[in-house]
């Protein structure tokens, strides 16, 4: 059975997660220890800043994994008790699927988690702790996560500052091909947003002040050009999208600057994103017609609304995941019962053969007709006797009735 023990942003503090994290370089060793110390056949460890989880195959109970997790980090077993979840079987599978589908993420629908899960499996594979159970789980997990993502909108609306800026730009402009982006200040956040805009076909101009070199560097990286800050009004009249993020203490772009630029723009809209704190753009700029100004608070409001949209979609994604969990479990159970049925059949055949031999010895030589009758009669007895247990086993497997299955097993001495 597959078990999982872990802590996540839902159950623990960041401090605890930090203490329990597995640095990448220690992972192969830790994976080996899961097998040696906890007696698991297979192991996989997912360690990100929002969760630390140990998956194991071939255990009936998650307790040894919980003990390992505590011991490995030098904690008393009871210390993790209130924060760690211990799941087994169906619950563990469901958890694995939900995590990969980003339904358990802090930001629902974020895309990184799938990559992190992928990496965790790759590490387990190269450490040699991936067996058939976890390998199948891996395959099913990716299938479930991809379905949840492509069939619902959990990943649809932007939530990070730079991607919200791009989304807003696309709510104003039809596309970004050939749009002029003006960066005021060469900060990291501006660069991030600009890179996404440029990737969508926009061209960038970076305005530099005292540190003109920095502006030139960023311009080169973006395949655009740099201009001195004194050209602000000129550049404003040419720009479609302005991203301002200087460290200046006061206003950098005034209402007058924008009004002048607007005159030269002939009605085309101007989209300004002010990601500076304190703000670069005069708040009055909002009142200029055809000008759309967003500061960090506004971006946050859009991001929150988008997150609400994602949570609505998450309801559907949960259904997709649930469906995938059912399918996987059905498959697992059908596999579980197959060797049992084969064994049952083999035992029946063995007894039949034995009895035929005994009968032959007693009866002496038989005619072909008699031989045939003996075969047919014994085969019919075995088949009729095994028919009901076979059907019952299949049903019990389908319904997940482990108790019925073990009862039949015991009755048949298997």
């Amino acid at each position: 059975m597959i078990v999982v023990v872990g802590v996540s942003h839902r159950t623990s503090t960041l401090a605890l997660r930090e203490a329990l994290a597995f640095p990448r370089e220690t992972l192969p060793q830790a994976l080996a220890r899961v097998r040696e110390e906890a007696g698991a056949e297979e192991a996989m460890i997912l360690s990100t800043c929002n969760r630390v989880e140990v998956y194991a195959g071939g255990l009936a109970d998650p307790a040894p994994i919980a003990a390992f997790l505590a011991a490995h980090h030098g904690r008393a077993p009871g210390e993790l008790e209130p924060h760690a979840y211990r799941l087994a079987g169906e619950d563990a599978v469901r958890h694995a699927f939900r995590v990969a589908a980003s339904l358990d993420s802090m930001v629902v629908g974020e895309a990184q988690i799938l990559g992190q899960v992928k990496e965790a499996y790759e590490l387990a594979e190269s450490a040699g702790t991936l067996g058939s159970a976890l390998a199948t789980l891996r395959h099913r997990t990716f299938a479930a996560a991809k379905r949840a993502r492509s069939e619902t909108g959990i990943g649809r609306n932007a939530v990070s500052v730079s991607s919200v800026a791009v989304e807003l730009a696309l709510k104003i402009f039809r596309d970004l091909e050939g749009r002029a982006v003006l960066l005021v200040g060469a900060g990291k956040m501006s660069a991030l947003a600009a890179r996404q805009l440029v990737a969508a076909g926009a061209t960038a101009t970076v305005l530099g002040g005292r540190t003109f070199e920095k502006a030139e560097q960023l311009a080169r990286a973006l395949g655009g050009r740099a201009a001195p800050f004194e050209h602000l009004r000129d550049e404003l009249s040419r720009a479609d999208i302005v991203i301002s993020g200087t460290g200046a203490p006061g206003t950098v772009i005034s209402r007058a600057d924008v009004a002048v630029a607007r005159q030269a723009r002939g009605g085309r809209p101007l989209f300004l994103v002010d990601i500076a704190v304190p703000r670069d753009v005069d708040a009055d700029v909002r009142e200029v017609p055809g000008v759309f100004l967003y500061d960090l608070d506004d971006i946050k409001a859009v991001s929150e609304a988008n997150l609400r949209e994602r949570r609505k979609e998450a309801v559907q994604a949960e259904q997709v995941v649930e469906h995938e969990v059912r399918e996987y479990l059905d498959w697992l159970r059908s596999r579980e019962v197959a060797p049992l049925l084969a064994e049952l059949r083999r035992r029946g055949e063995e007894i039949r053969r034995g009895e035929i031999e005994k009968a032959r010895r007693r009866l002496g030589t038989l005619t072909a007709e008699q031989e045939q009758a003996l075969e047919a009669a014994t085969a019919a007895i075995v088949n009729k006797l095994l028919h009901t247990p076979t059907v019952q086993l299949k049903e019990a497997a389908r319904d997940g009735r482990g108790d019925v299955m073990s009862l039949i097993r015991r009755m048949l001495g298997l």
Binding site: G153, R156, N157, L168, L170, K171, I172, F173, R174, G266, G267, R268, P269, R286, P289, G290, F292, Y294, D298, A301, V302, A305, N306, E309, E313
Partner: protein, 273 residues
Amino acid sequence: MGSRVYLLLTLLFYTGGAVHVLLHAATRRKLLSLTTTTAMLLGFATHTAALALRWNEAGRFPAVGLRDISSFLAWTLVLVFLVMWMRSREDVLGLAVHPTAFLLLVVANLSRPEDKADPYLQSLFLPVHATLAFLGYSALFVAFAMGVLYLIQERELRSRSPHTFYYLIPSLEGCDRTGGRAAAVGFPLLTLAIVTGMFWSAAARGHYWTGDAKEWTAVVAWLIYLAMLVARHRSGWGGRRGAWLGIAGFAAVALTFLWVTVLASPVGAAAAR
């Protein structure tokens, strides 16, 4: 009886298209799916058949009486949609057009056909004038709808806490451009409709200009669209003002239409009776 059945079939198809586009809007999925487009295309085909049969049954061009008028208007509207959508692939067109076509078809199916003979209506001016006018109305309706969507989206963007429409409506530029194109198509059609209307009036009653209300509203609408197109041509962007002009122009067009179809007016009233 033939046209009745086809008109009912058309209603079924358009209902499918309208319900589908609204459902997709509510669940934030891509507005126009293959199902919607197929339903509208099939509907358009049965609709065309219904109009042809009706023309034959009535013995005159089917643009007289509430039933024929709403049916024909829905047909031109779907035609305008199909042409514009093929060119721009702006799915939001369907959000404006499909439910409207559905409502017009409901009205058409519920009203009784008008079969009174009238010498005015045998004139060749009826098909020419009505086709030009209805195509124009339809294109201008699209410009109106895009104007409304533009203003809503602009409001959403300015409110900085997006609601449903933020997610539904495409970019401001998309609305602006599609609305501008629709007006650019609708304006010459409206011009030709006014001119043929004047000729019809002259042929029927000897006056090009009678000075009644519908003529004045038509001229006001024409002037509004002229202003809108000139402004767009000069700045390349209609914006808020363009959106408002599109709405105001359509209000004038709608008044003209109501006068023709509902209220007294020599030629139009004959058409309405």
